[in-house]
């Protein structure tokens, strides 16, 4: 539908002299949303030629009286069922605003569509039937507007013709809804009595509601302000991707708050690595020299090669978001299965995807009812407050500090199941970081390096079971030790017997297993050891986590022995068991091993002898600055 009205005042060539605002109309089913929309389009002269007549003709053909809501019932299926099932967007103009009108369904069944529509809105019109008054869906929508961050709400009391335009009834409803909304921190911009069907109060005052002196619906829309980008807040650039299409390494993302420019000192959270913005890249013109503010999609290069990945957040030094594993959030829940304590969830915060678990449900209520029932789970279409423990730290702000980086969504089985606001970060039962006082080593890194003649490193060997990881790791350990070094072997299975014995082989447990391996290995490496990790570590994401934990200490080695050779070796008898169906979640015979895309070294033990392969590992370490030159030279003479 191209619903544009001829402009009353001259417009710029792109037709945007008026500020554009997005409005959502919400409220209980059958309280008259679609009728109000139809009437608004008519009153503002926004209907395409012939549309009204066409629908009147269709109604006549079907033997039904014409209803304004037919204008919106564009889908055949909707007309059959008699309810608006999804979000529709229609544009029209008032004197002062270019309005994008989002019609959201009132039927409880379709709350996810209401949320989809309302989340895009700058302002909302909450509609209430004068006869029926405030109903459960009225309250629920009011509550959701607050959770979705829609602050400008106009209330219209519709169907005033059915209560004889009585002021007393209007005042009663006004008092009730104002109290509900103000309890949520939302102050209505206006409460307007109307009859959408007859047009009273929509674009003009009529004598039937002569007692009402406030704005009409159209006037209330004129007063709504478009959302403003958060330019004045501290910089937040969630990383969407790293592009290496040419010799530039471009970090891409959208500035959610603040602004950035070339030369800025930045910190990459949650790891806390520091760098400078070398350039701001663009196309067709590059580099971009003007500061890039909130709302811009940008690409930057940094002055040094750091490990940085999708989900990291770039901020200015000293004004960074918090790094947290534990969040307290107020959420709405849309999934059929209630959200319960102990549930494993996937959380999306900006561009970060993090696994975690619900460790506590502090509150669970039906926002439609007036009672504050407390239950152990948050049911579909209900809201609540929860504690989330994540398997990895994430960069996050409380929503009171940044409305865009302080909100999250929860995914279940690949589908968005809920969302909400981050109330506090790291609050709760676990000791907060201020209580943890890491004690530094008594030794300087250089003292260890002088003795061992190498720096600390994490050599991460990944590959299929039977690929030769442990054999190689042991050979490297022996080689380094014989040169006076301080290697430590961390075998995945060995650690599973102790530190990680509480973990199984589900994807979540595997992720946690790898995270712990990475933490231990990194601790050793920071203290001057070369930690040699031998672990299948099949998931690319998990290895990315390990790389993030270890940072520049990390060296990934893919032991890429062909699968059939691995299976024929079967040193632990696992392949045979798995083939016989006696080993669940075994990586090897399935297809769940994700080979590295950018390992520092790839070794195929089917074609390389152990000594040869160990030489290669040693060369890698010496070339990347871990082993000091004299060691490498000694190696060359043997």
């Amino acid at each position: 539908m191209n619903m544009r009205v001829p402009s009353a005042s001259p417009a710029t060539p792109n037709g945007t002299t008026r500020p554009q605002v997005s409005i959502v109309i919400v409220g209980h089913v059958d309280h008259g949303k679609s009728t109000l929309v139809g009437r608004l389009l008519h009153e503002t002269g926004s209907l395409p030629d012939g549309k009204l007549e066409m629908l009147q003709a269709v109604s006549a053909r079907r033997g039904m009286p014409f209803e304004w809501s037919f204008l919106l019932d564009a889908l055949q299926t909707e007309r059959d069922q008699g309810i608006t099932i999804d979000t529709t967007q229609i544009r029209f103009r008032t004197n002062a605003r270019e309005v994008v009108l989002i019609d959201a369904p009132g039927h409880a069944e379709f709350l996810r569509n209401m949320i989809t529509g309302a989340s895009q809105a700058d302002g909302a019109v909450l509609i209430i039937d004068a006869l029926e008054g405030v109903r459960d869906q009225t309250r629920r929508h009011g509550y959701l507007l607050h959770l979705l961050g829609v602050k400008q709400v106009a209330v219209v009391v519709n169907k005033m013709d059915r209560v004889d335009f009585g002021q007393a009834r209007f005042d009663e409803i006004k008092t009730e809804i104002s109290a509900h909304l103000e309890g949520l921190g939302v102050k209505p911009v206006a409460v307007i009595p109307i009859s959408a069907r007859d047009g009273d109060g929509v674009a003009k005052h009529t004598s039937r509601i002569g007692w009402y002196k406030g704005p009409t619906v159209v006037e209330a829309l004129d007063g709504l302000e478009p959302a403003k980008p958060l330019s004045s807040l501290p910089l937040r650039l969630p990383v969407q991707a790293i592009y290496k299409f040419d010799d530039r390494r471009i970090v891409a993302g959208r500035v959610e708050a603040g602004e950035l420019k070339t030369g800025d000192e930045i910190v990459i959270m949650p790891a806390g690595k520091i760098a400078k913005i070398k350039s701001v890249e663009g196309w067709p013109q590059t580099p971009v020299t003007t500061p890039q503010g909130a709302g811009r999609s940008v690409g930057i290069t940094l002055d040094r090669e750091l490990f940085i990945e999708r989900g990291d957040v770039i901020a200015h030094v000293g004004r960074e978001p918090q790094a947290a594993r534990r969040l307290h959030a107020r959420i709405f829940w849309l999934h059929d299965q209630p959200l319960s304590k102990g549930d494993s969830i996937l959380v999306r915060l900006g561009t970060r995807e993090a696994r975690g678990a619900v460790v506590a449900i502090d509150k669970a209520v039906d926002p439609g009812s007036l009672s504050n029932e407390e239950t152990a789970a948050i049911a579909r279409n209900h809201v609540g407050e929860i504690e989330i423990a994540l398997t990895q730290p994430v960069a996050v702000d409380p929503y009171t500090e940044n409305a865009r980086t302080g909100r999250l969504v929860i995914e279940v089985q690949g589908r968005i199941a809920g969302g909400g606001l981050v109330l506090t970060v790291d609050a709760g039962k676990r000791a907060s970081p201020v209580d943890i006082m890491p004690v530094e080593s008594a030794l300087q890194p250089q003292e260890r390096a002088d003795r061992y003649r190498h720096k600390g490193a994490v050599v991460w060997m990944t590959g299929l079971p039977g690929a030769g990881k442990s054999t190689l790791a042991r050979a490297l350990e022996r080689r380094l030790f014989s040169r006076g070094g301080a290697p430590v072997l961390l075998d995945g299975d060995t650690l599973r017997a102790g530190l990680n014995k509480d973990l199984g082989f589900t994807p979540d447990d595997r992720a946690e297993n790898i995270r712990r391996l990475a933490e231990v290995a990194t601790h050793l490496a920071r203290n001057g050891h070369i930690a040699i990790v031998a672990a299948v570590s099949p998931a690319r994401d998990d290895r990315a986590t390990a790389r993030r934990v270890a940072g520049e200490l990390f060296r990934e080695v893919h032991v890429a022995t062909p699968a059939e050779i691995c299976e024929s070796r079967d040193p632990k008898g696992h392949y045979a068991k798995a083939r016989a169906g006696n080993l669940q979640n075994f990586t090897g015979i399935g297809t769940d091993y994700e080979p590295p895309l950018d390992a520092e070294l790839v070794i195929d033990t089917a074609t390389r002898g152990i000594a040869d392969a160990t030489d290669e590992l040693e060369t890698l370490l010496s070339k990347t600055g871990v082993l000091f030159d004299d060691i490498a030279d000694l190696g060359a003479n043997i």
Binding site: N2, M3, D86, R112, R296, G419
Partner: protein
């Protein structure tokens, strides 16, 4: 940031999300004004190059000017162009009205192309203001294994978080310019100096507002022979953009039936 800057930044964000979260993407290039803007936006998003194929599902009934445009700019823009054929009309649902049936060849061609390449994401240049059923679309819109659209069971989508996990064998449609209007497209085309097919400009009192197959697309009366004139015309017209697309007007629900079956 002005209005066009905001639209551009949002579209770039969507394109980058699609590229980050899906394994095998293609951009559907219909050669029209909208998909040309989309390619331009992709080049901005990825700093000059489009890192996935541009696919033209060819009904073999387009205007000669469209084919000339395709061949020139596929090369100039360095696109990885994939041209995929559509089956003959006999292979298409005979209960559809004639123009819709003709257009449905493209749906079938699309299904064949999906099966051939195994794309899990198709980037399409539809807009909410074009047509009522498109207004109901999500930015990331899941399709069934048969390419069908289940309008009743669309997942929630908010705060620029997208559902990007299509079920096995299914794919996603990604709509980076869903929030643009026809006037936005023209204003941006003019600002960025993006090439267009001359059929959009008035010749002898007529021009095409929307380009499709030659036999089911008709020009509208217009004297707009430059983009500023088109924009001025859009300010005052109440004629819908797709008025010249026969398939929209045969029966009340023809277009919706096409879309549910997987049409764009």
């Amino acid at each position: 940031m002005d209005h066009l800057d905001q639209l551009e930044a949002q579209s770039i964000y969507i394109l980058r999300e699609a590229f980050a979260r899906l394994k095998k993407l293609a951009l559907l290039w219909s050669l029209g004004k909208d998909s040309n803007v989309m390619i331009w936006l992709a080049r901005k998003a990825f700093f000059g190059r489009v890192p996935f194929p541009a696919m033209h599902v060819d009904t073999a009934k387009k205007f000669p000017e469209m084919y000339a445009f395709r061949d020139t700019y596929a090369q100039e823009w360095g696109l990885d162009l994939k041209i995929e054929p559509c089956p003959p009309i006999d292979a298409v649902d005979p209960t559809l009205p004639p123009a819709a049936r003709s257009a449905a060849r493209k749906t079938e061609g699309l299904k064949m192309a999906l099966a051939k390449h195994g794309f899990d994401g198709l980037i399409a240049g539809i807009r909410r203001d074009e047509e009522a059923t498109r207004a109901k679309e999500r930015v990331f819109s899941p399709r069934g294994a048969e390419g069908n659209w289940d309008v009743r069971d669309q997942p929630p989508e908010f705060w620029d978080h997208f559902n990007a996990s299509p079920p096995q064998g299914a794919h996603l449609r990604i709509h980076p310019i869903l929030h643009w209007t026809e006037a936005d497209i023209w204003a941006y085309t003019a600002r960025e100096n993006i090439p267009i097919i001359p059929l959009y400009l008035s010749k002898n009192g007529k021009r095409y507002r929307s380009l499709g197959d030659q036999d089911i697309t008709f020009p509208v009366a217009s004297n707009a022979s430059t983009i500023p004139e088109i924009l001025a015309e859009l300010e005052s017209t109440k004629v819908p953009e797709r008025a010249g697309r026969a398939l929209d007007h045969e029966t009340e629900d023809a277009f919706e039936r096409l879309r549910v079956a997987g049409y764009l």
